[in-house]
Amino acid sequence: MKRYSVFAIAREAARYHMGWERAWASPEPKPAYEVIIVGAGGHGLATAYYLGKNFGITNVAVVEKGWLGGGNTGRNTTIIRSNYLQDSSAAIYEKARSLYETLSQELNYNVMFSPRGVMMLAQTHHEVRGYLRTAHANALQGVATEFITPQRVKELCPILNIDGPRYPVLGALWQPRGGTGRHDAVAWGYARACSAMGMHIIQNCEVKGVRSENGQVTGVDTTKGFIGCKKLGLVVAGHSGQLAEMAGFRLPIEAVALQALVSEPIKPCMDVVVMANTVHGYMSQSDKGEMVIGGGTDGFNNYTQRGSFHHIEETLRALVETFPIISRLKMLRQWGGIVDMTGDRSPLISKTPLGNCFINCGWGTGGFKAIPGSGWAMAELMAKGEPGPLAAEFNMWRFKEGRFIDESVAAGVAH
């Protein structure tokens, strides 16, 4: 793998950039691998990367139905934060956030992690108490957050209307090292690093069946034929239910559409990420200048990657109220993604009823921020066959025991 740097660009510029090599190889599948990961989104690629980096397992294939990073990795609003309430959530999201801090350097690919700060507005007294609780929890979890005053909110984000007639801002939970990243670059950067370790990323290869013998996984049938493996990781977000069915078990997961949109680009006017859970909306400004906006999920299940438009209207209504200046901007593009939701809205990183088959899913509306931590924990689970401390609480049998990891107190709506 040729290193990327300003010098490499200068060298290539002299020959009109004709000398750049592929960021990742495009191999045909081998008959078998030690590990197959299904799903080349951020979580799947990160799992492969940390299998190689932390455990030296590089005989790995990542198979992908479409193009890598084409699911929720490429559809989210790129927010990165770890100000979660429950210990096990805070642990894995903070692990992810701290890995994001150095990910560009580690992957030699600029993922543009921008720790510009994330604030979650408190607009009712109840919300104030909720965020004070999170602040106390975070203090014990090693997550740097603080509860700030409305005046400080206004200083950090001058375009915010803190005196709205319906929901005046009463304060905010502020995580100064939260922020945003470039979502596609995360997938591309991991893919390039995996490929450099000799792993195979096989795009346009749909898994059609999971084969097993004596309760142990033996491989997958794909549109490119059978591929054998000793261990199988299912990391396919919204389509986890279908893959689990192929593997012979059911999941406590439902799929719903979540929508987002961007405005036309404008000059910088907002330097932080703001989430307003009482009115249901969140917004940040991308480096291109687009206002990146997300809202709530549909109230019914579907797989269409389109949502109900009234959610867009509700979100914009809330945000015009919160940021009055956006009224005269224009919505450039709206889209939907299929999010996989568990009963407690926390993920699964788990062994499954099928031997040597592991699953990572259920990130719901907030998976992007977790990618490095999720991959780290999933790699440990797959390499050792048992979960490490990061994944321990996220097993799929917790619903049977009632051991919920419920973030509804802290997370209100979508992430």
Partner: protein
């Protein structure tokens, strides 16, 4: 120079001059002009700067596909960034400024990016700005953000208003060109209700510019007859300036009507969002001309041939005295003829095809225009405007054969049908080899619920590029010349706004970003404000060529709504400010306002938090209200409390399933406290249930929970127990409710008079109907404060009168109103739980010591099996206890009880947390409730709470009832 012609211009009114300004320069146009036409008429060729390299940009198109001519329109609160000049109607006093440059449009420092553009290819930012790490946030990112971004953000709230409206029709026709008009007329003839939308202010589409005849009649004659015919019909609605921008499932279409963009501040809504449900959707959206990829095709003065034609014919604007035409198809010859007809010079038509013998080329030759076939542009000369072109052979590598001086270049690379609306809901496309374009596949349209086609395309949108039905052939010409070397390919623009060139797509392909979505995201091709209307097909054909694949194999990126960007204000609609969300007020609200109440939002309600007197802080007011209620008499407006009637033969059975306790055995006339859990077993609501008669119960819920619980009841009745005979009604707003609380409570009711409220007649947890102060009243003897207390419900219309009567009669008894905070403190002093404080969706009633409210006899209730799961039945759960700080201080809200050591993830261990914490004015010290591991077994133990500052607060574990443990005060 570009200028206004002395005659012609079918859309302008030369008698109505209009003044406007561009970058402070005063200019003149005519009524009927677009801003773009008027700018060209004033020789304003340079109108902006591109996104990445800050290259000079001129007007290239004449419609919504325009990528370059974006301006900041208006000023102050009416500033609107990124407004397309090509679709902005000129009005008197219009002010606009160009974007994305510093210090000025003519001299932009950012153009340095252009000079080093070789070092800034597609995706360069992924490969650099990596070291040193802090530089991304503090140096590189701020620079990138400032140089990107185009228009300026407004700084003031939007003074305009926006409307939203619904419409229904049998047939919705989007696009009022000839094809759309014909469909509309046919449907109207068949008696169907028709809505016809047209994004521009006029009907007819391209026909008046491109055609001489329609159906054998002169085009203008045909058009006026058609307009008059449709306008006269009751079953046809025509909306101009209305863009159907998105198709959604089940025949739902959204359209944006630009009502007053051209008459700002006239009091009408700026835009109107139409939500249309249509039986049949017809997309008659026409086609958009494609640019050609030749070196220097982005220099101001290079325009689409159709746009040049539009400016000449519609607005009598000349793009320059000498215009070279470059094309791969016949349609651009019309431009040559139009220019000629206007008296302008066309030095040459460069046709990439080896032969051009159709009717139009013949007409051009006959008009004396030099037609050169097999030719291409090697490069365009000029920087801020075109000065000439160098000609080469299309089949070659760009060796210059001749140079021609000119002021404009009109290009046509063929036409792309506007298939966006067909594709929004999953319609599939076919590649048409004849016209080298994607057309809708009639066999795979987006589907209705019944499997029928939801959207059909007609006319040019369906690939029928000629109105007369004459087949049109457009050979593929993706790069000009065919064998152009990299030096030329790195000067061929695909996406003008985002600065994506042919060489960038090739680079993406070389680096493996070969999925069309990867190419788009890596190069930003098609991600500009025109969303690739001009660039996508050209870009993906370059990608296909580099991959040696056919274009349909490469496919397109997904077409997403909106077709053109829509103002956010229009999507948000009227709901802003005071009417952003409905405000719910109790019947006594005005009295509270008069009494100086400080309100807090509780859901959509406003409730008095406290009633501060002059000079009092909120805290002082709350303490006074608590003490007065405990000592004399307090009045609480409890109207927001949820009230749901549950009635029917199976109502008792239903409530027994809903609540953890038994409600079916409750005698008529009595009240019982109840808990509701979800299926998981977690406590979701509580309240007092009263049995009204044999088959009627009234369920009180929390104030915030009324709607949620009513929906919860209906969910079970409609989806699971649909055969049970139970009816529910949310009567929360039908009653005003007043809590009369304190030692003098009974006295007040006796003064009001009308019914016996004595201990014997109305014991604790009973209710009675009667009259108080001459008003019909239902009196519940219940208490949430630990005092002698009655809650009196009167019909909502009597609420204000009853409140006034209580206040008046209470004066002599020391009555004062109290708010929600005093309510909270008093319930905490008594150890009563509050949903949302003691519960958070993870707490079961057993955690709160409420086992007494859970029936042991019932076979089932919602949550029972959930609560039997191992983790919920574990003896190690955190349970409710009281806490007293050793120093009397108040434990901080949200604090955790710390435990020894750290867990496997390095987090400090915890063993509990505070759930309610207050200063008790009654006890003159801090009191708290909270959850603690093995809590009830640890009475008297001292534990430590954390603070956010890193310190701790010591507190002793105790029971939860801080006040009147034996209930002597409420049972009098």
């Amino acid at each position: 120079m570009s200028t206004r012609l002395t005659r012609g211009g079918r859309l302008i009114d030369r008698t109505a001059a209009v003044e406007f300004s561009f970058n402070g320069k005063r200019m003149r146009g005519f009524h009927g002009d677009t801003l773009a036409a008027a700018l060209l008429a004033n020789d304003q060729m340079l109108v902006g700067r591109s996104f990445k390299y800050h290259r000079p940009r001129g007007i290239v198109a004449s419609g919504p596909e325009e990528p370059n001519a974006l301006v900041n329109l208006g000023s102050g609160a009416r500033l609107e960034p990124n407004q397309r000049a090509t679709t902005t109607e000129l009005f008197d006093g219009l002010e606009c400024t160009s974007q994305n440059h510093w210090p000025s449009l003519e001299f932009d420092v950012g153009v340095v990016n252009n000079h080093v553009s070789r070092f800034l290819p597609a995706g360069f930012y992924y490969k650099t700005f990596i070291h040193p790490r802090p530089f991304w946030k503090h140096v590189f990112e701020p620079i990138i953000r400032r140089s990107a971004g185009l228009g300026k953000a407004p700084t003031q709230p939007d003074p305009d208003r926006y409307e939203q409206a619904y419409a229904f029709c049998d047939v919705l026709v989007i696009g009022a060109g000839v094809a759309g008009l014909k469909v509309a007329k046919a449907a109207a003839d068949a008696g169907q209700r028709v809505i016809l939308l047209e994004q521009s202010p006029t009907l007819g589409g391209r026909a008046p510019v491109d055609q001489t005849e329609v159906d054998g009649q002169p085009v203008e004659t045909w058009l006026s007859a058609m307009e008059a015919d449709l306008a006269a019909r009751d079953n046809v609605t025509i909306r101009t300036r209305t863009c159907g921008f998105g198709v959604y499932d089940h025949g739902y279409v959204l359209a944006d009507e630009r009502v007053a963009d051209h008459t700002p501040g006239d009091g009408r809504p700026k835009h109107r969002l139409w939500r249309i449900r249509a039986g049949r959707i017809v997309s008659a959206t026409g086609a958009i001309e494609r640019p050609l990829s030749f070196a220097g095709n982005d220099i101001p003065g290079v325009m689409l041939a159709s746009a040049v034609r539009d400016y000449v014919v519609n607005y009598a604007v000349s793009p320059g005295d000498r215009t070279v035409i470059v094309t791969n198809n016949d349609s651009a010859y019309q431009t040559a003829l139009a220019l000629k007809a206007a008296g302008l010079d066309v030095p040459a038509i460069l046709d990439a095809r080896e032969a051009a013998d159709g009717a139009l080329p013949q007409a051009a030759r006959a008009a004396g225009i030099r037609v050169l076939t097999g030719k291409a542009i090697a490069r365009v000369k000029g920087t801020k405007r075109v000065t000439g072109v160098a000609i080469c052979a299309q089949a070659g590598e760009g060796a210059v054969q001749e140079e021609i001086a000119c002021e404009a270049v009109a290009m046509s690379g063929g036409w792309s049908p506007v298939v966006h609306l067909f594709s929004h809901c999953g319609g599939k496309l076919l590649w048409d080899e004849t016209i080298s374009a994607f057309i809708p596949d009639p066999a795979r349209p987006p589907l209705n619920h019944d499997g029928s086609a939801m959207v059909e395309c007609v006319g040019a949108a369906a690939g029928d590029l000629d109105l007369t039905g004459t087949p049109v052939a457009i050979p593929p010409v993706w790069v000009m010349p065919q064998g152009a070397p990299i030096q030329l390919r790195s000067k061929m623009w695909l996406d003008y706004q985002n600065d994506v060139k042919v060489s960038d797509v090739e680079l993406a392909s070389r680096e493996g970003y070969v999925s069309v979505e990867h190419t788009k995201r890596y190069t930003t091709l098609g991600m500009a404000t025109d969303q690739g209307k001009l660039s996508n097909i050209n870009g993906l054909s370059v990608l296909a060529e580099t991959l040696g694949q056919e274009i349909p194999q490469v496919g397109t990126t997904t077409f997403r709504p909106p077709y053109t960007p829509v103002t956010i204000g229009a999507l948000a609609g009227e709901a802003r400010g005071e009417i952003f969300q409905p405000l719910r007020k109790t019947p006594m609200h005005a009295a509270h306002e008069k009494a100086g109440a400080y309100f807090e939002p509780v859901g959509l309600w406003r409730r008095p938090y406290c009633f501060p007197r002059p000079g009092e802080t909120h805290e002082q007011a709350v303490h006074r209200e608590v003490l007065n209620t405990r000592q004399n008499l307090g009045l609480l407006d409890a109207s927001t409390l949820g009230k749901i009637i549950v009635k029917g033969p199976d109502a008792g059975k239903f409530l027994d399933m809903l609540y953890t306790g038994v409600m079916s055995t409750l005698p008529v006339g009595k009240c019982r406290y109840g808990l509701m859990c979800n299926e998981q077993g977690f406590l979701i609501d509580d309240g007092v249930v009263a049995r009204i008669d044999e088959d009627t119960w009234l369920c009180h819920t929390t104030s915030g929970g009324a709607d949620r619980i009513h929906a919860w009841m209906e969910d079970w009745l409609q989806c699971e127990w649909w055969d049970w005979q139970v009816y529910t009604a949310n009567v929360t707003e039908q009653y005003a409710q007043v809590a009369v609380v304190g030692p003098n409570a009974r006295k007040l009711l006796q003064v009001l008079g009308g019914m016996d409220v004595s201990k014997e007649a109305l014991p604790f947890m009973h209710w009675a109907d009667g009259t108080l102060a001459g008003l019909p009243a239902r009196v519940y003897r219940i208490s949430f404060s630990g005092e002698l207390s009655y809650e009196i419900a009167v019909p909502a219309s009597h609420g204000a009168a009853f409140w006034a009567a209580c206040t008046q009669a209470g004066k002599a008894l020391g009555a004062m109103p109290y708010g929600t905070e005093a309510l909270h403190i008093m319930r905490a002093e008594k150890g009563f739980i509050m949903i949302g404080d003691e519960t958070d969706g993870t707490v079961i009633p057993q955690d709160l010591g409420l086992d007494w409210a859970i029936s042991k006899k019932k076979a089932d209730y919602l949550g029972k099996r959930g609560q039997e799961r191992t983790f919920l039945a574990s003896p190690d759960r955190w349970k409710l206890v009281g806490f007293e700080t050793l120093d009397g201080s108040v434990i901080p809200d949200g604090a955790y009880v710390i435990a020894e050591g750290v867990n496997a993830n390095g987090q400090r261990n915890t063993q509990g947390r505070v759930t309610s914490t207050y200063y008790s004015p009654t006890l003159k010290r801090g009191i708290a409730m909270g959850l603690l591991k093995h809590g009830p077994a640890r009475m008297g133990e001292v534990v430590e709470f954390n603070t956010v500052a890193g310190g701790t607060v010591k507190a002793r574990v105790r029971d939860t009832v801080f006040y009147d443990k034996d209930g002597e005060k409420q049972n009098v």
